[in-house]
């Protein structure tokens, strides 16, 4: 069983290592993740939200509903923990 697990892990790791050859270089300013949509947030955040911290402005302003859903996730997890750990009687 352990041997089988090791084989599966090594196959997955090798495939991922092979895939990293095509990934953009570390710290490349012209990689696809850094060129398409993120410059727009960096340039417009002061104008649109008046918040210097871009992470905050995206989290709490552009993606406010997402953060609301996140708090729902935390609330659900807390309620589930209470329901599971409560001793009845």
């Amino acid at each position: 069983m352990r041997f089988f697990a090791l084989i599966v892990v090594l196959i997955t790791g090798t495939l991922l290592l092979y895939a990293t050859v095509d990934m953009p270089d570390w710290g490349d300013p012209y990689s696809p993740a850094n060129t398409h949509v993120s410059p727009r947030y960096i340039e417009k955040t002061i104008e649109e939200t008046a918040t210097p911290n871009i992470v905050t402005s995206v989290l709490a302003d552009y993606r406010g509903y997402d953060t609301l859903g996140e708090t729902t996730v935390i609330f659900t997890a807390g309620v589930v923990c209470i329901l599971l750990l409560r001793r009845f009687k």
């Binding site: 790791g13 991922l16 990293t20 960096i42 340039e43 992470v55 935390i74 750990l85």
Partner: protein, 135 residues
């Protein structure tokens, strides 16, 4: 491109793949349930590190606009000056989900321990057989 440059530009991904392999192996091969959960956490941490590293830019600063508030607010912002904020934001959400999963999993493990008195998978299986036969 030379070998050294290739290693320098890609070694961060290799570290994350290694971390992912450690977590994956712990999830599959370990018998103790707490060790399995810790393996899942290592796996998620590797993915979070991977996403955050895709947002880095060489020579860029943290994504907080300089002179962003106060009397002198500069509106001209060069995007190459700040690292990509979107991976940070999305991984913040992922960290929240990770912590919630971890908490609920630990609560479930406490319930299992209360019922079976052990956390090893094979012993839980034997105990469940014994409990089933006793009924």
């Amino acid at each position: 491109m030379g070998t050294i440059e290739f290693i320098i530009s890609k070694y961060n991904y290799w570290i994350y793949v290694l971390l992912m392999m450690i977590g994956f192996y712990a999830m599959i091969a370990k018998r103790n349930l707490v060790k399995k959960i810790v393996g899942m956490n290592i796996f998620q941490t590797a993915i979070i590190l991977f996403f955050v590293s895709t947002g880095s830019k060489k020579g860029a600063s943290i994504p907080i606009i300089q002179n962003g508030h106060g009397d002198v607010v500069s509106h001209a912002v060069n995007a190459a000056q700040y690292v990509n904020p979107l991976p940070h934001v999305l991984m913040l959400t992922a960290i929240v989900v990770m912590v919630s999963t971890f908490g609920v999993a630990l609560a479930l493990i406490i319930m299992i321990y209360r019922k079976y008195g052990t956390l090893e998978e094979d012993e839980i299986f034997e105990m469940s057989e014994i409990l089933r036969l006793r009924k």
